[in-house]
């Protein structure tokens, strides 16, 4: 049997990347805990006990089961609802993370994921709600007869099978994202414009464009009249992703079958990047664009295609999120960009741009979000501390190289001591 060589294992690049990520996570958590501690101790209405509860929830919020009814102390254990919600929230995060990671492999920083995500959202919702399926889970009464919401809006006549509408909406979302990603890609390839600047511009163009589209659309939720500025849920037209039995395992949660698609997509991206010639060309462009060109790789094409694929992945994330059926879009987004798009950056950075790693870092990020939610529900603190932790992690990954260097230096220092 081959002997496990611990030292060789520690020297592998993958191990170092994982260690560096774990280290940034730990530092991020520590900073978050310190902020909670300071704000808890300095605030008159809180105290050391609240601060301690806050720290517990930031780290273990996923396993929170609320408060004990008699003692009022926090209780922990397996909570299927939170597990399901984590899988649900991880779904778009994995997709935007893949988007950023794929572009990064080609040497491009895709800060345009929020815009691509928004364009995907618009296309998906438009297709999913414009082609009537004749079904729909919520019913309302119109002159004595029970009809679906879509029928109540006058969307009758030709109906399409729900699976077809779902597929079209999903592909449409990917397509819209791809187009929106290709724009900065082309500007970069043909005119050598910095993709970061182009992406920032296309982000805000998308934010206004999408608001405009929904402002003049017929898709604003007019049925539930307590709601303002929301678009119909896709379940109103009966085009929601199958839960694939996951809701039986994790009851009362938002879980959707889309998570399976997201994981499959990650595997596909991994195979494309690492096992195909095309993927090799993309990575070659990322390592050294000019050397790749010298080797006969069409670098301009690679850049455009890479950004288009990145956009498609972000668009697919939006499609999965809104096709889940239990989500709705607040359409007045012209002044803000979706956080899930920006959070693709830390997801990719934590995974060191490895598509399989993205699955785990996506799950970790959504776990953090759940922890923040629990922190808000159960203590006087609020969910924004998790965003602080995420920002610290991004900040640390800006000099990930340095951390990795420090890690290997520590190793060699240890070796010296052994001698």
């Amino acid at each position: 049997m081959k002997k496990l060589d611990f030292r060789a294992f520690m020297k592998k690049a993958g191990t170092k990347a994982v260690l560096a990520s774990l280290l940034s996570i730990i530092i991020g958590m520590v900073v978050g805990s310190i902020i909670i501690l300071i704000s808890g101790l300095t605030n008159a209405t809180m105290g050391p006990k609240t601060a301690w509860e806050g720290i517990q929830l930031v780290i273990g919020g996923l396993f929170s089961t609320g408060r004990d009814a008699t003692t009022g102390a926090l209780s922990f254990g397996f909570n299927p609802q939170l597990m399901g919600n984590m899988l649900f929230r991880a779904m778009p995060l994995i997709m935007t993370g893949l988007s950023v990671a794929l572009a990064q492999k080609t040497g491009l920083f895709n800060i345009g994921a929020p815009g691509q995500y928004l364009m995907g959202t618009a296309a998906t919702l438009y297709i999913a709600l414009s082609l009537p399926t004749g079904t729909g889970e919520t019913l309302q009464r119109v002159s004595g007869e029970w009809v679906t919401h879509m029928e109540a809006l006058g969307m009758t006549g030709v109906t399409y099978p729900a699976w077809l509408v779902w597929t079209l909406a999903f592909l449409g979302g990917m397509m819209a994202g791809a187009i929106w990603g290709a724009i900065p890609g082309m500007l970069k390839a043909l005119l050598n414009i910095n993709e970061v600047l182009a992406c920032i511009m296309t982000n805000w163009i998308a934010a206004n464009l999408v608001t405009w589209v929904f402002d003049i659309s017929h898709l604003q939720n007019a049925v539930e009249n307590t709601k303002r500025a929301y678009i119909y849920k896709t379940s109103f037209n009966g085009v929601q992703t199958s839960k694939l039995g996951l809701d039986a395992i994790l009851p009362n949660s938002q879980v959707s079958g889309g998570i399976v698609i997201a994981v499959l997509m990650a595997v596909v991206v991994y195979i494309i990047l690492n096992k195909t010639t095309f993927g090799y060309e993309l990575r070659a462009c990322g390592s050294n664009r000019f050397a790749a060109r010298y080797a006969g790789i069409r670098d301009k094409r690679s850049i455009v295609v890479s950004m288009a694929l990145a956009g498609a992945l972000a668009g697919a994330g939006a499609a999965l999120y809104y096709l889940a059926g239990n989500t709705e879009l607040y359409w007045e987004t012209s002044q803000s960009l979706p956080a899930v798009g920006f959070n693709g950056i830390p997801v990719a950075l934590l995974a060191a741009n490895n598509p399989i790693g993205v699955i785990f870092s996506g799950l970790f990020m959504s776990m953090l979000e759940i922890c923040g939610q629990k922190l808000k529900d159960l203590t006087a603190f609020n969910e924004y501390i998790t965003d602080v932790i995420i920002a610290v992690i991004v900040y640390l990954s800006a000099f990930a190289m340095l951390i990795r260097m420090l890690l290997s230096r520590k190793k060699s220092a240890g070796k010296e001591a052994l001698k």
């Binding site: 920032i200 609020n382 000099f399």
Partner: protein, 381 residues
Amino acid sequence: MDILAILQSDSMAFLIRQTLLFAVPLMIVALAGVFSERSGVINLALEGIMIFGAFVGVLFVNTIEQVGWFTEAYDWLKAASAVKIDARDAAFTSDMVSNLFATQGFALLTMLVTAIVCAIFSMLLAFAAIHLRADQTIAGTALNMLAPALVLFLVRIIANQNTLNIGGDASSWFMLKESYFGFGIKLTRTTKTASMGFLGQAFVNQVYPITYVCILLFIVMSIFMYKTRFGLRMRACGENPQAADSLGINVYKMRYAGVGISGALAGIGGFLYATTTMNCSSNGDVAGFGFLALAVMIFGNWKPGNIALASLLFGLLKCISASYGTLDFDANGIFELKELGISKYVYKLLPYVITLVVLAFTSKRSRAPKAEGIPYDKSVR
């Protein structure tokens, strides 16, 4: 239509006032970007620093209010608008002057505090970019994520809601009103004293003097960058740091200074934005103004003069998109811009589209600092 009448209409005065309101924060934040980039550090964190600056400024005003300093002046000014014209004598005038000085001095003090705190905040970027040789884009993005998160976390704890407000209203604290100067005061139920006239309406009434302070600051800092030895040295570090180093300039120090000044200016811009357009409140959001300022900087080709013009153009577009439905230049009850039938989203989109187009056309001749984004390493030639 009489062109002269239109040019002197109340709507025109309103348009000028509102355009300045949007343009000046853009201008000062874009200049902040120039300071950082010309020293060689890409500053994507403008949005984040603005958000942080807005928070620091509002928190400072809020705290001083609770301590009770300046509140006498505030109360006096708030009541002054209602004082009848015949009750205004020399003593009233001298009180007015001293109280205006007090509140405006308070505004300047807040600007100063904001600038210092934000310069320190921007050291997070400087440290990562200069000493740790980090990826400046990622470090900037990190600050953009950190600022709103930290601000919202603190605001929620301090104010128990998502917005931190000040006790009074920003207009009574920091705004000039025509009634202070004896114009537009109610005489009877229906009659008023004369209005301030076109120039007064456009540049004095309902204007925040800190806007003009920022214009002045913009001019002074531009001259500082171009006409002083320090400015020249700083710009050299963004163009050719090796050459600068060989002449005995400390590149690291210069870049720290560039980012620090950048942070101070962006913070001031954030406070200005919060005061003039958000009634001096902070909610961890400046509606993408920092990114728009980045667009202004690129559009202005990293030069202060062009940036001033670009920010006026973008400010005008922003102003039109916000108020195009209520502008009536010849006072005939028809809202001219609304009649054009162009969606407000077009005006909102235009700045970004224009920037992309300009980037596309000038990419070959772009005057972006040559060494921006590249960490300086003494050992590399």
